[in-house]
């Protein structure tokens, strides 16, 4: 990530942790706007805490939380006025960095052939506020997907390079959370510009702010803060420990790469296929799923064409349609592909797991299929079966 070296920074190097009172929190928004950022973060919408553009601190879901389980999400009032006292919701940050639907280019027929008209990409800088540890890990995983290797995705690159990441340490975990199992939380370790820990004491409401970059320091320079942060590290750790103990789900990841690949014909795949709707909700909700398709459209004259990119899923039939037909015709083969990629072959491809334990695929599966339960079932009764192309 490029850093803006000319940004004013009045904080000295040793002051990496500061504290901001709740009443001064709006100054953070003012500072972000003054620095040209569009603020994207959590807000109430459609009976959930969604991610959208924020026009002020009042847009944050103050005093709201949620209860989740397989195929269930319900908003609840909190007994306090916490701004970030909720679990991850239906949206993932990828919707801003890897937009669901986007025109790539247009073309006009002319006497000389075809004129390609390039699409102007957004020039706005995003500040993502409220990024939880599992979500930050997911962004770093998508960075590898879109920016690693020989070819970078220019759209993702353009949106990501100026994005300011303001993380938040989780103060609670939901019933579908298992970031601890995936080594992805609950404490935010690195990769942020600023990291907030919201503290609600008897008569105090404030934020401990860890500064992770010069850009973050620049933003904080204009926010009233205190350097009296003795015990802050201990407080953050206590919150992280408490949250870690609340994980509603657990996944045993020991030797998981081999486990899934060595049980390719396990009867559990048929069992999950009987329950799976192949609706693609899990892949759309997943913060690391990155597949897309491109569609060309023409107008009726045939003189004007457009190419669009939109999210696609390994659960749709068109996704693997080739001349000979569908590569993964059965629901069994599609679910197996998704889960095996996420937890096993992702390591071969990108060197990490593709799962961060955020639990979205469990909560937002309309029939409550639970990836942790599927792993347990396969582990409990390993019936084997190596990959065979004929079984696709």
């Amino acid at each position: 990530m490029e850093k803006n070296e000319t940004r004013p920074c009045t904080l000295s190097a040793e002051k990496e942790i500061v504290a901001v009172a709740r009443k001064d929190f709006p100054a953070l928004f003012d500072s972000l706007w003054a620095n040209g950022f569009r603020i994207l973060g959590p807000t109430l919408g459609e009976g959930a805490i969604v991610y959208d553009e924020l026009h002020g601190v009042d847009d944050l879901p103050s005093g709201w939380t949620d209860e989740q389980d397989g195929a269930t999400y319900r908003l609840k009032k909190r007994s306090d006025e916490a701004l970030f006292g909720y679990n991850v919701g239906p949206h993932a940050w990828k919707k801003f960095l890897f937009p669901p639907k986007l025109r790539l280019w247009r073309a006009e027929a002319s006497n000389n052939g075809l004129n390609i008209i390039e699409e102007k990409q957004t020039e706005q800088k995003f500040a993502l506020i409220g990024v939880k540890a599992c979500e930050l890990k997911a962004i770093l995983i998508q960075d590898q997907v879109f920016l690693g290797g020989e070819y970078a995705d220019p759209i993702y690159q353009n949106r990501r390079k100026d994005a300011l990441l303001i993380a938040v340490n989780c103060t609670q975990a939901g019933k579908t959370c298992f970031c601890v199992s995936m080594n992805a939380g609950p404490r935010v370790e690195s990769g942020f510009d600023l990291c907030l820990t919201e503290v609600l004491a008897e008569d105090a409401h404030y934020f401990i702010v860890e500064i992770g970059s010069e850009q973050g320091a620049g933003i904080m320079a204009n926010v009233p803060h205190s350097n009296q942060t003795q015990g802050a590290e201990k407080a953050i750790q206590a919150i992280a420990t408490n949250t870690a103990q609340q994980m509603g789900r657990v996944m045993d990841t020991e030797n998981i790469q081999a486990l899934l690949q060595d049980n390719f014909e396990h009867s559990r795949w048929d069992d999950v296929a009987s329950r799976c709707l192949t609706c693609a909700n899990c892949t759309m909700a997943c913060p690391t799923c990155f597949c897309s398709t491109v569609e060309d459209v023409t107008d009726i004259t045939g003189d004007h064409a457009e190419r669009w990119r939109q999210w696609d899923s390994c659960f749709t039939m068109d996704f693997t349609y080739m001349n000979h037909g569908h590569a993964r015709a059965s629901a069994k083969s599609r679910y197996r592909q998704w889960m095996t990629h996420k937890l096993s072959t992702w390591f071969d491809q990108f060197g990490t797991s593709g799962c961060v334990g955020c639990g979205r695929c469990i909560t937002w599966c309309p029939v409550a299929i639970d990836i942790t339960e599927e792993v347990s079932a396969i582990r409990a009764n390993q019936t084997g079966g190596k990959p065979a192309s004929s079984s696709l």
């Binding site: 459609e46 009976g47 909700n281 023409t298 009726i300 004259t301 068109d318 937002w364 409550a368």
Partner: protein, 258 residues
């Protein structure tokens, strides 16, 4: 010198409400472009003028419900280079296929003062049960943008960009929060063909399945979930017996709860 001949388009009506034909009229500005590029040879909702076949593209609305219509569709197929069915009636038998689950004579005797004038088939069936169809455009009614896309694709000799996946994908692309998960509202979206743009969930309602079954519908698994949400069997039967009641996966699912 060769003059480019305008392709001839015909629109045909069978047992239907005309709503899908009207979607073509609703295209407004797009319709003017369509009219520039093609010759509208037969379109009773728009004009009485009829140009003789053969036709480059026939759009067929409605289901087959009478012996006369069963013969008429065969003649239309013979005159059409491409034949595309539009809407739930033409692709699944429509709402009038509810008769298929009962004896049509019972309805006739109740509804009509002079039942002897009624000459109807026992079942309302989709066009593809009678002739070969080049493409089926779903929906009750069809989406006008998808209709323009299909006309477009056939005139430009390309595959229509019409996705057969679930309506859930549309909700997710729109950022709509799942009404079944967040509100416990029964929704047919996971088994329903995309195309409408997931309108109902964006207004806090469950999907009614107007676009019929998606490519690989697991209706059984969805029904189990609906029952967990408190939906009783008679309501499950009704849910799957909408505009696409006679589409195979929906028909079988409704019958399994009777």
């Amino acid at each position: 010198m060769t003059v480019k001949r305008k392709p001839k388009l015909a629109v045909w009506k069978f047992a239907s409400c005309d709503g899908c034909q009207l979607s073509l009229l609703d295209c407004e500005d797009d319709l003017l472009t369509v009219a520039n590029e093609i010759e509208i040879a037969n379109f009773p909702e728009a004009t009485r003028a009829v140009i003789k076949g053969p036709y480059d593209l026939s759009l067929v609305e409605g289901s087959i419900t009478t012996p006369r219509d069963a013969e008429r569709i065969v003649k239309i197929r013979r005159q059409s280079k491409y034949l595309v069915t539009i809407g739930a009636c033409a692709t699944a038998g429509g709402i009038q296929a509810l008769r298929n689950f009962k004896d049509v004579k019972d309805f006739i005797s109740i509804v009509y003062a002079n039942p002897e004038y009624i000459d109807t088939l026992k079942k309302s069936t989709p066009i593809a049960d009678h002739i070969s169809v080049d493409f089926e455009l779903r929906g009750c009614p069809i989406n006008k943008y998808q209709l323009v896309e299909v006309i477009n694709a056939f005139l430009n000799h390309r595959k229509p960009a019409i996705s057969p996946h679930s309506t859930c994908v549309e909700c997710k692309l729109n950022g709509t929060v799942c009404v079944m998960v967040a509100q416990g509202t029964p929704c047919l979206g996971p088994v329903t063909h995309a195309g409408c743009g997931a309108i109902c969930p964006s207004y806090n309602r469950g999907c009614y399945g107007c676009y019929g079954p998606m490519e690989t519908p697991n209706t059984k698994a969805l029904s189990r979930r609906w029952q967990d949400l408190g939906v009783e069997k008679p309501d499950l039967v009704r849910a799957f017996r909408g505009f696409n009641a006679w589409a195979d996966p929906f028909r079988k699912e409704s019958e399994s709860h009777e």
